[in-house]
Subunit: 213 residues, 2 copies
DNA sequence: AGTTAGCTGTTACAAATTTCACAGCGTTAA
DNA sequence: TTAACGCTGTGAAATTTGTAACAGCTAACT
């Protein structure tokens, strides 16, 4: 099975929508309804769901709970998602509170920082270790993904260290494209770039409006 | 001129790379070099740069400063990017420090929150107003984009309020697809979805590796 | 001045992604 | 039981996005 990046992103979104619907007590949902919530088309929803193998019912649509189970199986998150976070600057700390350990399926097992003043503490329920202990800690943690919230200059070095430890997935907030082996997946979130995109298109839309008048 | 979302994103990235190169004293750069830094191909770089109209030199490549100027002109950020931020939770505050007012070209003019306890203060150099003052404040601020860092439940209501005020661009961190008029651009950053993508592909890559053996 | 090497700009091609369209099916209603 | 409706699953078309290839040019060298 090979699904593209985009399909996986949307499936994750459908998963979220379905869990909302389930908690609202809805038992069946049509592709069209999901499409509206996900800002897509019904054909796209159906096509995306094909990769999971789950089949809907021509009259009732999709069974919310069953499809949700199927997606959870598909994502294979039975034991939740385990991660480590590197860099406890303001963004790193914000993510630690965001994924605060409790009912969430996302567990940040440990945070790391190079500044001694920040280590040895608990931040938002997560223990913060010195970066020197990275390799040692990762050995006992097993399979995890890494969240990189550190300055651009330090990101590549850290990515290399992480891949050397066998890390296969990195969520990178540093505005740098990381060079990693083929068997490692990197997802970039570049807030500045996104903001510039928004500003650009906002500008453009304003200008379009002016022209029309 | 109509450039796609993706092209604009990459141009923004080139802009960042060029400003780094300029500060390093590099005067000329080849499409191939930019491609390596941006994790793309040289053809794509050249193709992307076509939309700006700037032309390079077949022997020396692109003049770093000139191309940077051209891109700044293209993005029309001469007076910087002005934004307001809605929601001063942990993520909102992290972004306020990230875009801390100083040499940055990104100015968060004001932050808003519905909790009275958080308003009337200065957070990371940005004054925080009560959400009731949104419409009033926006009038005096002129053209800005909005950054939404608030709970999913509140996002749609706020998006509607913002578009009613004439906002044309929204950077949305809430895990909801916003319904806005056609002349408003929305860029979504969904950290949870991105993390799930990373976890999924990391899983897959690990499995692929096991099969090969 | 003429030649050469190698990069750019751009067109043509290829791949990926989305949308269309419709056969087939399951439920409902008569 | 049968008929009808309307949704799903999916092959095929359309669109979008990325890649390849090459003519043309410019600096450097003879």
């Amino acid at each position: 099975m090979n699904a593209s990046d985009k399909v996986i992103g949307r499936l994750s979104h459908y998963r979220l929508l379905l869990s909302k619907l389930e908690s609202q007590g809805k038992t069946f949902v049509f592709s069209r309804e999901l499409a509206i919530m996900a800002d897509g088309t019904s054909a796209q929803v159906r096509r995306d769901l094909m990769v999971t193998g789950y089949e809907g019912n021509p009259k009732q649509g999709y069974n919310v709970s069953d499809l949700l189970d199927e997606l959870n199986k598909f994502f294979n998150f039975s034991r939740g998602v385990n991660a480590v976070l590197i860099g406890t600057g303001s963004l790193g700390r914000a993510l630690l509170s965001y994924f605060m350990p409790k009912k969430s399926r996302y567990n940040i097992m440990a945070a790391f920082d190079s500044e001694l003043s920040k280590t040895g503490r608990i931040i938002a329920g997560t223990r913060c270790c010195h970066i020197n202990e990275l390799e040692f800690e990762l050995k006992s943690l097993g399979s995890v993904v890494a969240i990189l919230t550190l300055p651009a200059e330090a990101a590549q070095t850290m990515a290399t260290r992480l891949t050397n430890c066998g890390i296969k997935g990195i969520l990178n907030f540093a505005p740098v494209r990381l060079r990693v082996p083929d068997d490692v997946y990197v997802e970039n979130i570049d807030v500045t770039m996104s903001l510039e995109k928004v500003a650009f298109f906002a500008n453009q839309k304003s200008e379009d409006r002016e022209k029309e008048v």
